[in-house]
């Protein structure tokens, strides 16, 4: 009742304009990509005036930046919480388990789609990000991801000491690619599996991806031992 006092007849304006723009942009960018989404589509979906975009954000690039920035922090916060718990449990000298480290990295992205509603577009958005962004946007993203990259690189290193830094970089890159491709083009999986796999079951996907990445990284570690002579 209370909440209605100030918003009678304002149903479509319940949220702040700025946030409504971000919400609409997030969904459209995720579904259609950055280049293919026009500001007009965004303002139409947000039920907001076209000029509002240029008022609240200077231009389209800054809007993209804002859309990404809003989500990166919470996702990485969750990652760090999970990794903190693993490291605490392992103590100063105990071992870290590769599967669990990878799960801590991947779970926040996977669960985003289902757990909290306002996060549900992030996975697809992330999938698009890697192939569509260039220049300053990519640099901005790399800067925001650098701390997570460093902490998880170190954790994987600790879990699998046999991995050289080069092999770890390759493995991480391949894993991110597998993740991004699944998030952006999960529907292909329906085709590949002839309908027997449901790509919308993200927890199942998490299990398969953790297994796959673990196997891939351990194989890179073993190969390295062999060629080390």
């Amino acid at each position: 009742m209370n909440q209605a006092i100030e918003t009678v007849d304002q149903v479509p304006r319940a949220q702040d304009t700025k946030e409504r723009i971000l919400d609409a942009a997030e969904r459209l960018f995720a579904d259609n990509g950055f280049a293919a989404t026009s500001l007009r589509q965004i303002t139409a979906e947000a039920q907001v005036n076209l000029a509002a975009v240029n008022y609240h954000f200077q231009n389209k690039e800054t809007l993209i930046r804002a859309v990404l920035h809003r989500r990166i922090g919470p996702i990485n916060k969750r990652r760090f919480d999970l990794l903190d718990a693993l490291e605490f449990a392992a103590g100063d000298s105990g071992p870290l388990v590769l599967e669990e480290v990878l799960r801590a990295f991947l779970l926040p992205v996977m669960e985003a789609r289902t757990s909290c509603p306002e996060m549900r577009h992030w996975p697809r958005l992330l999938g698009r990000l890697y192939t569509e962004l260039h220049g300053s946007l990519m640099e901005m993203f790399q800067k925001e991801m650098a701390p997570a990259g460093q902490r998880f690189t170190a954790a994987i290193q600790r879990a699998e000491p046999g991995l050289t830094p080069e092999a770890l970089a390759w493995g991480l890159h391949f894993g991110i690619g597998a993740l991004a491709h699944f998030l952006a083009a999960g529907e292909l999986l329906r085709f590949i599996s002839r309908g027997t796999v449901d790509p919308d079951d993200h927890l199942e996907a998490l299990g398969f991806l953790v297994t796959y990445m673990t196997g891939g990284l351990r194989a890179l570690r073993s190969q390295n031992k062999e060629t080390a002579q």
Copy 2:
């Protein structure tokens, strides 16, 4: 000498207009993506009149289709030749080696960049393809890739009989993602590895990717055994 008789002062017109458009489009699509590349850029680079595009191809979508179609055949031909050789060597009942099957699938794409000049943009183009194409274009690509998909799925199945069809689909999907991400965003690898890895060395990449995919698929096979009870 002979070849100059008819082409004096025709240096920029040495090639057929249609093919020059395809060449320019291929490079620009690979570098900037499909949506972000304009027909004007293409005709400018091809040193061809703007209207020529709509004369030789009806519209932009058909041009994209033609660019893709021109390369898929030869790549898959090479794949089949390599797989034929493996299957011949293995005979009717002998085993296939997973590493070799994957190498037969990946080598033609990797070597495309370096071996024959006119193929050098295909890898990046392929990387873009999976995340940028929709609807009819994606269907067309799937249709052209279906035979290769079926043959290699069967070969992997033969190499690793323990893999369930579902696990194989997941593994293949992840592997394609790793490949596409490497091809489209290889520069990220420089960043992740802090400059110690050169993503332009495609033969090195092939080795790492074969190892990674092999390890991932074998891990999926083992996991399946465990959960089979």
